[in-house]
Symmetry: C2
Subunit: 198 residues, 2 copies
Amino acid sequence: MATAEDSGKTTLESGHAPAASAPPVSLFSADLVLRLLLFAASLSALVMLLTAKQTAIVSVVLTPPFRLAPVAAQFKDSPALIYLLVALCVTCLYSLLSAACSLKSISMSSVCSAKTLFLLILLDVFYAAIMASATGTAGAVAWVGLKGNSHTRWNKICNLYDKFCRHVGASTFLAIVNSLILILLAVLNAYSLYGRSR
Amino acid sequence: MATAEDSGKTTLESGHAPAASAPPVSLFSADLVLRLLLFAASLSALVMLLTAKQTAIVSVVLTPPFRLAPVAAQFKDSPALIYLLVALCVTCLYSLLSAACSLKSISMSSVCSAKTLFLLILLDVFYAAIMASATGTAGAVAWVGLKGNSHTRWNKICNLYDKFCRHVGASTFLAIVNSLILILLAVLNAYSLYGRSR
């Protein structure tokens, strides 16, 4: 996907524009590897989130006489986790499409046009922001579930729904990884564009 | 700050590289205006968040006999809102520094180097991700405060702390605006870099 010269690193340090260009195999490969990693991480996060379901026996009445009943916890109960699910779905799809595009460039040994690089930066930045905000929402809700908030009397639920919380936590962690990969992809493509600039 | 040719738009559409370069006054100005807007929005969001404090008379015991007492709600009570505050502080500082840098470029009528543009993209993307995640955390907590969650028995608090919630809501909305401005800045600088590429 990337097209900066092999001398790109030296160019960045010296601040001068590069000369003639040979396809930069390392940047091509790095782009593809990152996009495949993005796919793997978003798919794993999706699976963790979709399997986040646990039933526990809890009191359904707060005051005595307490009445115990099985109550299920699932990701659908929280708008924040639904937003994370949607963000993971679109990112997963985007990673597949962009990886296919990257693979095609490598197999055809063709050099990405500057226009393609610009559009990829635009999309990478957009998806990075989506994924970062979804990580934030899921993380905030997971934190309240884990620690509770005595000021607002929001009780922690992870002492009851431990498996559910582990799944949500793993999914949130993978969402952070996704955000970092997308930022890295945007910077990588910006670097490729920089390598081509005068 | 930006340095694409005036013919940049035509170039983008046709996919060809631009020819000679004159300082692109419109992109210079757009960059500065966006950075000043970013500063104004993050400062307003900071003020809204710091003044988010309200005391209400609530029952401090959940079961009868209920005992009423004044209880204060403030942003310090929520880790999510503290994260938003930190994110707003660093973004506010960054917007000032980068606006000064942008203004210097305009006053000296100098053209930003490709290296500067690349570094600005890197920083803009980084801050966009920080701000998007902070918007997510604050938004998630504000949503629970507004609507509650019957599944987890997290009661809504905005019926009691209406002024506090309005301040947090306004701050979160301005954080979304900040995220969008930072994304726009990253894309604008990527476009400038694209305008210079072969």
